[in-house]
Symmetry: D3
Subunit: 68 residues, 6 copies
């Protein structure tokens, strides 16, 4: 499946931390860039996300602010 | 000012394209990663964004999906 | 690829309307439910979206408000 | 009150699960479609959301990705 | 209808500007605070939004960043 | 740093409540308006957010719905 999201950045999961309903997942996408994502615990279980997994950070262009 | 957003990725503006109300801005953040942002034309003018500018892509963790 | 987004609703594209930078896409997901999406023109081109296509509306749980 | 959000989908609450700050609410909107929402615990209390309630999932068009 | 969104700020529409698909709407909410919203042209038509209207800016808590 | 976000509303932190992964922060921005934000616990720590701090609520125009 191809996605409309303009930003699809490949990386490696370096941390998965689950709270009661929301989890934080960290991806190392290279070049010293770490991307942090907040997703549901359920999504973590559904994707069986764990440290070391190859994964993709997907971000809609309308969710990116610019600072200068 | 320090921001709560967990993702603040430095790069260089490689393209600014304005529509009638919404513009697309593309940042090269290194490692072959290009980040696309949709912001208002007004924001482009306000920040005087142009090709070659150093800029930062700012993304809230709750706006990042994970694919695996 | 499996996605973290909790809402992935299958349907049929019934309309694609492109502006200068942002397009509107409408999916019929059955049961009288039409889902409207705003995505970049570029995404429309990239996915070659057109009336009649099978497609999926993907929505992060954190982007759903509840009214009662 | 009329809302600008292009997606307002009526359904029935089938689950409310509260974490420490964020809750997950699931709506059955018919046709086998379940919509999951993450909202604050406070919102759950404010709306007195509970299983069996008629409710509406409200989603801004700019928050809908398309997959094909 | 009561909404889960934690931020519902009453104001007066001071500007409506339509592009080809996306419009910008500005609300004066008092205290010198102007809130800008990007919504679909269709939503502007559907709500018949015009300068002088009483309206409400509705923002999900998960869409608010904090700067300090 | 200047931000593309059209809404940057100054206020005072009146409450910080941390869950396991997500915190709620409330800002009094004057005129009887309280803005609630959900951010990561990590962001709260990073900004050392506490009651009484001067802070700014930052909201992208595309994340603002209008009700009328």
């Amino acid at each position: 499946m191809k996605l409309s999201a303009r930003n699809q950045i490949k990386g490696t999961v370096i941390e998965v931390f689950k709270g009661q309903t929301i989890a934080h997942v960290r991806l190392d996408v290279g070049n010293g860039i770490i991307i942090t994502s907040s997703i549901t615990n359920e999504a973590v279980d559904d994707l069986a996300l764990k440290r070391g997994d190859a994964a993709v950070a997907i971000i809609k262009a309308s969710d990116v602010l610019i600072g200068k």
